[in-house]
């Protein structure tokens, strides 16, 4: 009798336990949730060296900065998915601080070199004279506008006229990264 009672209790216990397993979870109807994110527009340019110093140069001398490698590197980034351009210009001719003499703009030159981009480097590895107007350096492809950094390297050269007046000369090079309308 006692063992039968034990058996029944065990059975009830087992049934109660299994009842929990076989009891079904309640379900609610699915609820849709919309998720969204705004990716910030990225369109920027940096230069690793913003001082182009030729140091002392003799009248009649040609001096090259970055020969055999490069002098400075421009980094352009865009995630706008559109073609962009890199341009370069000189704000004014090299002008002497004391005597206000000018070294003509065409005596200062730049040479665009290596890039990791898929676009076109205009006159790559060729020294180009600066002008006061913007000159195209690089035309990107769309693949260059998916946020990856695109590097363009530069060398610079100056050809001091053989009648150049002794002085400290300065000017400003302007780099512009832009999309077109």
């Amino acid at each position: 009798m006692k063992s039968l009672k034990k058996c029944i209790v065990s059975l009830i216990t087992v049934i109660a336990a299994c009842g929990g397993v076989f009891a079904f979870a309640e379900e609610t109807p699915p609820v849709d949730l919309s998720a969204s994110v705004s990716v910030k527009l990225l369109f920027k340019m940096d230069i690793d060296k913003s001082v182009i110093s030729f140091g002392r140069v003799l009248p009649g001398e040609w001096k090259n900065l970055g020969e055999g490698s490069y002098y400075n590197q421009v980094t352009c980034q865009s995630n706008n998915g559109k073609i962009w351009y890199l341009l370069i210009s000189l704000s004014s001719p090299l002008t002497g601080a004391r005597h206000n003499e000018k070294i003509p703009a065409n005596k200062l030159k730049y040479m665009p070199g290596w890039t990791n981009g898929t676009g076109t480097v205009h006159d790559q590895y060729t020294f180009k004279e600066f002008g006061t107007e913007d000159s195209y350096v690089y035309t990107s492809n769309v693949e260059d506008a998916i946020a990856n950094p695109i590097y363009i390297q530069f060398q610079y050269g100056v050809n001091v006229p053989d009648n150049g007046t002794a002085d400290d000369y300065s000017a400003t090079v302007v780099y512009t990264m832009m999309e077109m309308l």
């Binding site: 230069i47 003799l58 610079y156 150049g164 400003t172 832009m178």
Partner: protein, 187 residues
């Protein structure tokens, strides 16, 4: 009213692309270069040799085509006024004998640019074109013109003649001295 609204809509839609902007970014780099000063004087012929001169006679040196003896070329890109000066270290001397200092003379007859179009100098000769007795301190020859302060690449040339009056009682001998030409930015 409907027409006005339609026209307005068309105008606005036409103008919108004009006011859409292209993305751009600009950076600058400062360029500098120092053109070094060049300041030099050179002489075309560094001997003033009268050769054999009889006592009591006057000898003159104009060996370059009969018009001058030597040329002093001054180059500068410093943009400052410069001067040519001349002196002798002592009277022409042979042993214990000297020819009086005042008997040895110089003349700067012409100054001109060595750059095309080779114009005459625009500066000032310190003396009239005549023989001047040498002295043992710097004597001013020429003050450059304003447009000669920087005169590269070829400089400005000053042409010199020399004269010597040998006293008629002068003992025989080989007489020597040293002439110094100085280009300077100080008077």
């Amino acid at each position: 009213m409907k027409r006005i609204l339609t026209y307005l809509t068309v105008v606005l839609m036409t103008l919108m692309p004009i006011y859409a902007y292209a993305l751009s970014d600009t950076k600058t780099a400062a360029v500098s270069a120092t053109v070094t000063p060049l300041f030099s004087v050179s002489v075309s012929l560094n001997t003033i040799d009268f050769g054999s001169v009889q006592a009591g006679s006057w000898a003159e040196l104009k060996t370059a085509g009969g018009s001058y003896h030597n040329e002093v070329v001054c180059k500068s890109n410093n943009g400052q006024t410069w001067y040519i000066k001349i002196k002798v270290d002592h009277a022409l001397t042979s042993g214990s004998n000297t020819i009086p200092l005042a008997n040895f003379k110089w003349m700067c007859a012409y100054v001109g640019s060595k750059n095309p179009p080779y114009a005459a100098g625009t500066g000032t000769l310190a003396n009239a074109i005549a023989y001047i007795s040498f002295i043992t301190t710097d004597a001013l020859v020429y003050t450059c013109g304003a447009d000669e302060k920087s005169n590269l690449p070829n400089g400005i040339g000053a042409q010199f003649n020399y004269g010597l009056s040998v006293p008629d009682t002068q003992p025989a001998g080989s007489y020597t001295a040293t002439v110094t030409y100085t280009m300077t930015e100080t008077l």
